[in-house]
């Protein structure tokens, strides 16, 4: 449910005039020019200015694999690959995008990406490691294409319980409003306040008191266990009527034992929140266990949610526009994406303004926005021939490692493991990462998952690839290895099948020659499959 902001909230924008002057204020009318052509125009201007030459357009095969991984998190199957590559339809790329946007895996993949943004692999605490209820809720936001400002607001209002919705989010930071506000501002507003936690920052507009003024919005939250499901507690986020954060001045001058002064909630570079003080003798009851905590008389957290996700909040739209841009293009127009500040300016300011404005005008419709991004010629540039994984001027496609989920699910498709499962009468295990399981996979391939060029796969991941249990997938019944190992079939067909199934392209003549020779000597087909699902071309999306 969307709560309109109170007048107090709106007033805070007016007071933050100095800040607004830095940014274009998002309007409401749609622009006549589609966003993807604005993107192409602005990037071209950047290339001219920086004197860089853009890469040529991507091949069909390059585009197919890239956009499939980016939209649904899995490589296309052999059949899908052949159909797309052989299609003579001039609009086949647009048609593919529509098909992928409508695919149920689209919601799942985008929810995976956001789950990592909101929690990461190792959330700070309080039983948030397991959060199936939250993940289901998040996926449903993308299935229904709920406007981003709406679900972000719901997440920050945290009503209901952890079993059913976004109430899990704040459970990461129990009794730590300072940690919570750092994460909220970084994630939803793209600004970093953490330096201001300890001292006034020399280069930024906000001061230490601004940090504590923001933390005050979350000072009264508590995690209440309202039920138990199996061995897993179900939480609700309670909000008390009383409780303040305290400010002791710069950390380096702090004296031991100084408890500091209470700080009133104040919007970042805006106004103080208007609150009616409680009578001095007001006594608050503690939250009871196994009972939904009552709502406070006035909710600071809801005021923060309304302010933060308001379309007029100059940080909100820019932050999400920039974040999703980086998800598809490798780096933000402001980079790093969560450090928007006067000292870290965007590479393409006009473009960022336009993207934020259009996204707000389209009521934060993320599916529309993603469609515009992948429809741009910029997204469709080739990634071949270059070294930099996240090019500064977006002059070629970025290269990024596949996430743990993308990797395993792509192996399932490429090896024929998934097809074998579908053909079998046995019900498949209820584990996305089957048959490998999540233990080692998350350990070796789980971090980081920013979807950018950041890559930490070292020696250990190769020990797993080289000596681990990949054979359990490669050996799938009637799978790829079986087809490729069938000496009765023409060798050229076997090699072609191998490449189309794994790398989603046809082999080059050199590859046909080399692999034909390999099979001619009677070598293992399983190992040939292994080579193609562990090589660099498979490991990265480019």
């Amino acid at each position: 449910m969307f709560h309109p902001p109170s007048t107090g909230v709106l007033r805070s924008f007016a007071v933050g005039g100095a800040l607004l002057a830095l940014f274009a204020v998002p309007g409401v009318a749609f622009a006549e020019e589609p966003l993807h052509t604005v993107i192409d125009r602005e990037l071209r201007a950047g290339w001219d200015k920086a004197k860089v030459t853009p890469a040529k357009a991507s091949s069909d095969a390059e585009f197919l694999r890239r956009v499939s991984l980016d939209l649904v998190g899995v490589v296309p199957s052999y059949e899908e690959t052949v159909t797309f590559l052989d299609s003579k339809d001039a609009d086949k790329r647009d048609a593919l995008i529509e098909k992928l946007l409508a695919d149920p895996r689209f919601a799942r993949h985008q929810a995976d990406v956001w789950d990592m943004v909101l929690f990461g692999r190792n959330p700070p605490g309080y039983e948030t490691q397991r959060r199936e209820g939250f993940q289901t809720w998040l996926r449903a936001r993308f299935e229904k294409n709920v406007p981003y400002n709406e679900w972000a607001g719901d997440l920050l209002r945290a009503e209901g319980t952890s079993a059913e919705n976004g109430a899990m989010y704040f459970a990461q930071w129990r009794n730590a409003p300072e940690d919570a506000i750092e994460a909220v501002t970084q994630t939803f507003l793209g600004v970093q306040l953490q330096c201001a936690r300890c001292h006034d920052h020399p280069f930024e507009e906000w001061k230490q008191l601004d940090f504590y003024g923001m933390a005050a919005f979350l000072a009264r939250l508590d995690v209440v266990t309202v039920a138990q499901k199996g061995n897993q507690p179900i939480f609700a986020i309670g909000e008390r009527n009383l409780g303040e954060v305290r400010f002791t001045g710069s950390v380096k001058d702090a004296k031991p034992g100084d408890k500091g002064e209470p700080v009133k909630p104040k919007f970042l570079l805006g106004a103080e929140l208007a609150e009616t003080p409680f009578p001095k003798d007001f006594k608050e009851e503690r939250f009871a266990a196994n009972k939904m905590p009552p709502k406070p008389k006035f909710s600071r957290k809801d005021a923060l949610a309304a302010w933060a996700t308001n379309a007029d909040n100059p940080y909100f739209a820019r932050s999400v526009a920039n974040r999703i841009w980086a998800q598809f293009m490798g780096r933000g127009l402001v980079h790093p994406i969560d450090n928007m500040s006067a000292s870290n300016k965007p590479s393409h300011p006009t473009l960022l303004d336009a993207m934020a404005k259009e996204l707000a005008a389209h009521k934060f419709d993320l599916k529309w926005y993603i469609r515009e991004l992948v429809s741009s010629n910029a997204y469709r540039l080739s990634g071949i021939g270059t070294g930099e994984p996240t090019p500064e001027w977006f002059q070629h496609a970025r290269s990024r490692p596949l996430s743990a989920e993308e990797l395993v699910e792509s192996w399932q498709v490429a090896t024929g493991y998934l097809a074998a499962e579908a053909a079998s009468s046995k019900k498949p295990e209820n584990d996305r990462l089957r048959p490998l399981g999540n233990g080692y996979i998350i350990q070796f391939f789980g971090n980081p998952t920013t979807g950018t060029g950041d890559f930490q796969g070292g020696l250990r991941e190769h020990l797993y690839l080289n000596n681990g249990p990949l054979g359990s997938m490669i050996g799938a019944k009637a799978g790829l290895a079986e087809f490729v190992g069938d000496a009765k079939k023409p060798v050229a067909d076997r090699v072609e099948r191998l490449f189309l199934s794994t790398l989603n392209r046809r082999p080059t003549p050199a590859e046909v020659k080399r692999f034909s020779a390999y099979f001619g000597e009677g070598n293992s087909a399983s190992e040939a499959v292994w080579v193609l699902i562990t090589c660099s071309e498979f490991r990265f999306n480019h």
Partner: protein, 423 residues
């Protein structure tokens, strides 16, 4: 006092200058510190190859129960100091074996660091930097691996045996991630190939062909790293013998002491002897908020036995001159003894120790006041500590690597090398 913040923004003015230069030249600055200048430095340092062993006291060992005794003071605790083989230097009675090795050791009694809790302290004392949202600093082990490692060797250059810290290779990239060994000295999962060698060789040839093809058109840094890590994982099959210590353990048990930590120190010596640049060996758990003295009575004797054995063994084998042995944890402990006979976290004044390669042993540097509350002479910050370690390892602590566009010196800007400690 230093500005109490080392977040990435403080680098940004210099970074902007450098960034601007790089972009006007039309060049693309690579990630992961891959700069030619710093590569040349790496090649130079390798000529005088040094090694480093980090003995990591997880939780924070007490200076009062090791190297900075305060007998007769209210903060002193129950243990007594004993003489060492260096006139004028005394150590805790829990360390009789180390007392006989003090001619090789330089103690720093004036550490003053800036992260008072475990996670921050572990990061700080592994990297020399405070945790930052913008820069992923590499650990000491990653830096030693980069500047003193063996390109294309059979063994990983950064090995961690049952220790802490997860900063790893940081912005230096996956090539410098630590190779983790379990508490029993066991190899990580999947380290051993069960495949027929001839079949593996065929597979490897085919894989090399595929990677070569890809590399001719794709100059991708990521693919290059991915391939290097694959090669390293494969070479490990050849180097695996270096991790086996069972035979030697029977003979060395007495020298190192019959403890898990002793075994890990023997493994460290064996790996150094086999050419590994950096080995970290951890011991837990010193976080003695209660029963501090009982904990130290249990933990210090096996630790000091192994450490003394390690120094003697390195010396015996002629390895000590080129191997720096660093002894530290993430924090020190409070002078005040709390009502549970514990000591809490204290970083305003605590002790660390350096021994071996590049270090002038037989000395104490810096001093604490009479109760061990504050540094009296010659404070040493985390930055100074790391700058001194790098200098002892013949690595210039001012060497810069690039985290994206930001130039980051090995030791934090403004750190000083404590020359008195260098031999």
């Amino acid at each position: 006092m230093k500005l109490n913040c080392v977040r990435g923004e403080h680098l940004s003015r210099r970074a902007l200058m450098k960034g601007a230069l790089a972009t006007t030249a039309g060049g693309v600055v690579m990630n992961w510190g891959g700069l030619t200048a710093s590569r040349a430095i790496a090649a130079e340092a390798r000529k005088q190859k040094k090694h480093c062993i980090l003995l990591w006291m997880n939780g924070g060992a007490s200076q009062f129960e090791t190297f900075d005794m305060k007998p007769g003071r209210p903060t002193g605790g129950p243990f007594r100091p004993i003489d060492s083989n260096v006139p004028g230097i005394q150590v805790c009675e829990l360390m009789p074996r180390m007392a006989k090795q003090m001619d090789k050791v330089a103690v720093i009694r004036s550490m003053r660091t800036s992260e008072v809790d475990h996670p921050g302290g572990i990061y700080l004392m592994h990297t020399g930097y405070r945790p930052s949202a913008n820069v992923r600093f590499p650990e000491l082990g990653a830096i030693v691996a980069k500047y003193q490692g063996t390109e294309g060797g059979d063994l990983p250059d950064f090995v961690k045996v049952s220790s802490n810290g997860d900063a790893g290779g940081g912005f230096l990239g996956p090539k410098y991630q630590p190779f983790g060994i379990g508490s029993e000295g066991t190899l990580p999962p999947f380290a051993v190939s069960g495949m027929d060698a001839a079949k593996e060789a065929k597979r490897h040839d085919l894989r090399s062909f595929v990677e070569d093809q890809f590399a001719t058109e794709n100059k991708s840094e990521l693919a290059k790293m991915h391939r290097e890590a694959y090669e390293a994982a494969r070479r490990l099959q050849k180097g695996r013998e270096a991790f086996k210590i069972d035979d030697e353990w029977a003979k060395s048990k007495e020298l190192y002491g019959d403890s898990e930590f002793g075994k890990r120190c023997l493994l460290a010596r064996k790996l150094i002897e086999s050419g590994v640049a950096f080995v970290e060996v951890g011991q837990s758990s010193y976080d003695s908020h209660a029963d501090n003295f009982q904990w130290h009575r249990g933990l210090v004797p096996p630790m000091e036995h192994a450490w003394a054995g390690l120094l003697a063994d390195l010396k015996e084998r002629g390895l000590l001159d080129n191997t720096l042995v660093v002894w530290t944890g993430e924090i020190g402990r409070t002078p005040q003894i709390n009502n549970r006979a514990g000591r809490d976290h204290h970083v305003r004044c605590w002790s660390t120790a350096l021994a071996g390669g590049g270090i002038k042993g037989g000395q104490v540097y810096g001093a604490s006041d009479e109760n061990g509350v504050e540094v009296k002479d010659n404070p040493v910050t985390e930055g100074d500590f790391f700058a001194t370690i790098y200098s002892a390892l013949a690595i210039d602590p001012k060497t810069e690597n690039y985290a994206g566009l930001r130039p980051v010196p090995l030791a934090p800007f403004g750190s000083k090398v404590v020359k008195t400690l260098l031999g």
